[in-house]
């Protein structure tokens, strides 16, 4: 027994050493790369950072949905990204077709905020419905079953997007006031600021709900131990539904913001962005709210820098960079930046 323990200890130490060395080498290389780029063109550096951060804020909204659901029922909700896509398509139809707004005006602002409320409630409703009909029955089944179901739901949502939006990408006019301003060579579009201005309160509201309210307490209790929570009189089914509603609402809001700031919708949008958002959630430590936001900002920044810097791999390698980070993280630090190591429940 002691021999095994010793071998295990030695391996663990060696592993930790290897991780630390690789980690430091990677950080030195990254810092080197950033410095060179910064010296070469500071304005481009800041420009890329700002684009990256504004993407990161959007990723944060989606990543929170992943992390909430994973935190409570340990399911990677593959359909979450597609819910975001449906949110974007819904917003486009709501603003441009049902209300016919295609440029900025006071009325358009009204429609915009009406749309925000509608898209959040519709997405929340859809997500709750998905949980009720597809995932609830499989809650105690082996992991493989709900995961495959989630992939199936993702395909069904993509089908809805395909029927609704058409097979190609569609472009839309934004109702947010256009324009941009410049600070020492770095141009910042107003839409970026609006995106941040809408996202931040949502994030704060979310954190408040989870950490300060009674319902949030029930969520945290259910995440820790469903059976114990049930014994304490918490309605576990309703709490899980509420979690899905929260995640769905955030995905819907992200859909609206994406559609308005990029002016683009397409049925396969959710798959790519969903994966990126999931990577962010993992990077921050899945299950941790602050971690998801931090991870999303970092991933957005990395992507922005990689796409926009003079010495970089460029946009065509964007996916590869993000997924390589995902794989490396999984291999060396599956708990993420802020996650706590957990022992698997047996």
């Amino acid at each position: 027994m002691s021999i095994f323990a010793k071998g295990y200890q030695a391996r663990k130490i060696r592993r930790r050493y290897l991780e630390r060395t690789l980690g430091s080498i990677a950080s030195v290389l990254i810092i080197f790369w950033l410095t060179i780029n910064f010296i070469k063109s500071p304005s481009q550096f800041f420009q890329a950072s700002i684009i990256g951060l504004s993407n990161g804020v959007l990723y944060a909204l989606i990543a929170l949905g992943y992390t909430l659901v994973y935190g409570i029922i340990e399911l990677i909700n593959f359909a979450h990204g597609d819910l975001f896509m449906l949110g974007a398509v819904f917003s486009a139809n709501f603003i441009a077709i049902w209300f016919g707004k295609s440029s900025s005006s006071p009325g358009a602002w009204l429609v915009f905020f009406g749309c925000l409320i509608c898209v959040m409630s519709v997405s929340a409703g859809v997500n709750v419905g998905i949980e009720r009909f597809a995932y609830r029955k499989l809650r105690r089944a082996p992991k493989l079953a709900p995961l495959i179901t989630a992939v199936g739901v993702s395909f069904v949502l993509q089908f809805i997007g395909l029927r609704w939006n058409g097979s190609g990408p569609k472009t839309w006019n934004s109702v947010l006031p256009p324009g941009q301003f410049e600070i020492s060579g770095v141009t910042i579009a107003y839409t970026t600021l609006y995106a941040i201005a809408i996202t931040l309160p949502l994030l704060i509201l979310m954190t408040w709900i989870v950490t300060r309210t009674r319902q949030g307490k029930a969520m945290r209790a259910t995440a820790q131990d469903q059976d114990a929570a049930r014994l304490m009189g918490i309605n576990v089914d309703r709490t899980i539904s509420f979690t899905f509603a929260l995640g769905g609402a955030l995905a819907g809001a992200a859909g609206l913001i994406f559609q308005q700031t990029r002016g683009l919708t397409s049925y396969n949008l959710g798959y790519q962005l969903g994966l990126i958002a999931f990577t962010s959630a993992v990077m921050g430590g899945i299950g941790s709210l602050q971690g998801a936001v931090l991870g999303a900002l970092l991933i957005g920044l990395i992507q922005g820098l990689n796409d926009g810097l003079p010495i970089g791999l460029g946009q065509q390698w964007s996916q590869t960079v993000v997924f390589s980070i995902l794989i490396l993280l999984m291999a060396f630090r599956p708990t993420g930046l802020l996650g706590k190591p957990v022992t698997e429940k047996v």
Partner: protein
């Protein structure tokens, strides 16, 4: 005591019977393949024109061949998902790597060199030309190596994390091939243009034309038969039993002395090897490799085949793969055409395949988790949680 003995004997007899049955099954499959081959090669052209048309419309030879490639890959995925219980959502990566091994070693792509090994290509044509039979192994080995590289650091992870890593891998590899036109000045994959044509299957002196479907069918059927045999053999052997043990309870398996990492890696490597064979076969089927064909939906279609047919059951997976491949390539368009002309409608049926595959995955998981032709042991596990009346426990 006597009863016990008798039970033991019966079990032994059953085991003996089972070990011969795998050969019987494989031979049975081969006989069926020969019948189909004879039909397409000799009988079909003698049939009246109308009946020929029906076959060309509903079951053209190219669909049959493509379905066999899907079967090969689905059997590979079945080893990973069905036997070892590791969810792999990036199987397309192995398909792509297999395809590009065919592109590299069976075409005039690398014009800088001139290597010929038992190839059907003309001796003066530049590039690396290795016989199809060799490239199958090369492609398989490259895939197996990638399977181990991606598996080694990540197989410690929980099952859902593993699914994500494989998914990421399945995204990276096709992008590498799409952007591979200029990697530090080296053209690795010819980018989106792809590599075409590849050499024909055959032996030196006798090559099959690119449209020689009936002989290709025969070769693909041979490969499939080999895969069926290997799958059944592995399932019965030490490694297969170790896989099943891991699938059913990882902790218990490791306590019983099953080396987890090595066994899981073996599942990955064997699955990847098969994916490589499928990739090479597919490249010869479409006479080239094209980067944009390798996307996530291939991984999902393969998964749907395995789930629909019955995870872990070779016959189930085969039937599932044939059915899904047929529906995808011929069934849905042809059926749609039939419905549209009879009822005078105008519905674009192939556009419904997202709904079809998604719906199949959801409904199968909700109502028939074990698939159409279930494997008895897996059925028991998948419904283990259903009949526990207590609310306690159940975390897996």
């Amino acid at each position: 005591m006597a009863i016990k003995l008798r039970v033991g004997k019966a079990k032994k007899e059953k085991a003996v019977k089972k070990s011969t049955s795998q050969k019987q099954w494989t031979i049975g499959f081969l006989i069926a393949a020969v019948i189909i081959w004879t039909f397409y090669t000799f009988i079909m052209y003698r049939l009246p024109f109308d009946i020929q048309q029906v076959f060309q419309h509903w079951l053209p030879p190219t669909t049959v061949n493509e379905a066999l490639v899907w079967v090969i890959c689905a059997l590979g995925l079945n080893i990973v998902v069905g036997y070892a219980g590791l969810l792999d959502l990036g199987f397309v990566a192995f398909w792509a790597i297999g395809g590009y091994s065919a592109g590299w070693f069976m075409s005039s792509f690398f014009r800088q060199v001139n290597v010929h090994v038992l190839s059907t290509a003309k001796a003066e044509s530049p590039g690396i030309h290795i016989s199809f039979w060799g490239v199958i192994f090369i492609g398989g080995l490259i895939c197996a190596a990638f399977g181990i590289i991606i598996g080694a650091p990540t197989l410690r992870l929980k099952s859902d994390y593993l699914a994500l890593v494989t998914l990421g891998f399945g995204e990276i590899i096709p992008q590498v091939f799409t952007n591979g036109e200029n990697i530090a000045g080296f053209n690795m994959s010819n980018g989106t243009k792809g590599i075409s044509p590849v050499d024909n299957i055959g032996v030196p002196g006798k090559a099959l034309g690119p449209f020689d479907f009936s002989w290709k069918f025969f070769i693909f059927a041979l490969l499939t038969a080999m895969m069926i045999f290997v799958s059944l053999r592995l399932r019965k052997g030490r490694l297969g039993r170790a896989w099943l043990a891991i699938r059913e309870d990882e902790l218990a398996a490791s306590m019983m002395g099953v080396p987890l990492m090595r066994t899981k890696l073996a599942a990955y490597a064997v699955g990847a090897f098969t994916g490589g064979i499928g990739g090479v076969a597919f490249a010869t089927h479409v006479n080239g490799v094209f980067a944009d064909r390798f996307n996530f939906s291939i991984s999902i279609i393969l998964l749907a085949m395995v789930v629909l047919g019955g995870m872990g059951n070779v016959w189930g997976v085969m039937v599932g793969a044939l059915l899904v491949a047929w529906v995808n390539s011929t069934g849905l368009p042809s059926l749609g055409e039939l419905v549209n002309t009879t009822f005078n409608l105008n519905i674009n049926f192939p556009s419904y395949n997202f709904l079809l595959f998604g719906g199949v995955l959801i409904l199968m998981m909700l109502f028939k988790r074990e698939g159409m032709i279930p494997e008895s042991r897996l059925k028991a596990i998948l419904h283990e949680a259903d009949d526990t009346s207590s609310n306690l426990g159940g975390h897996h």
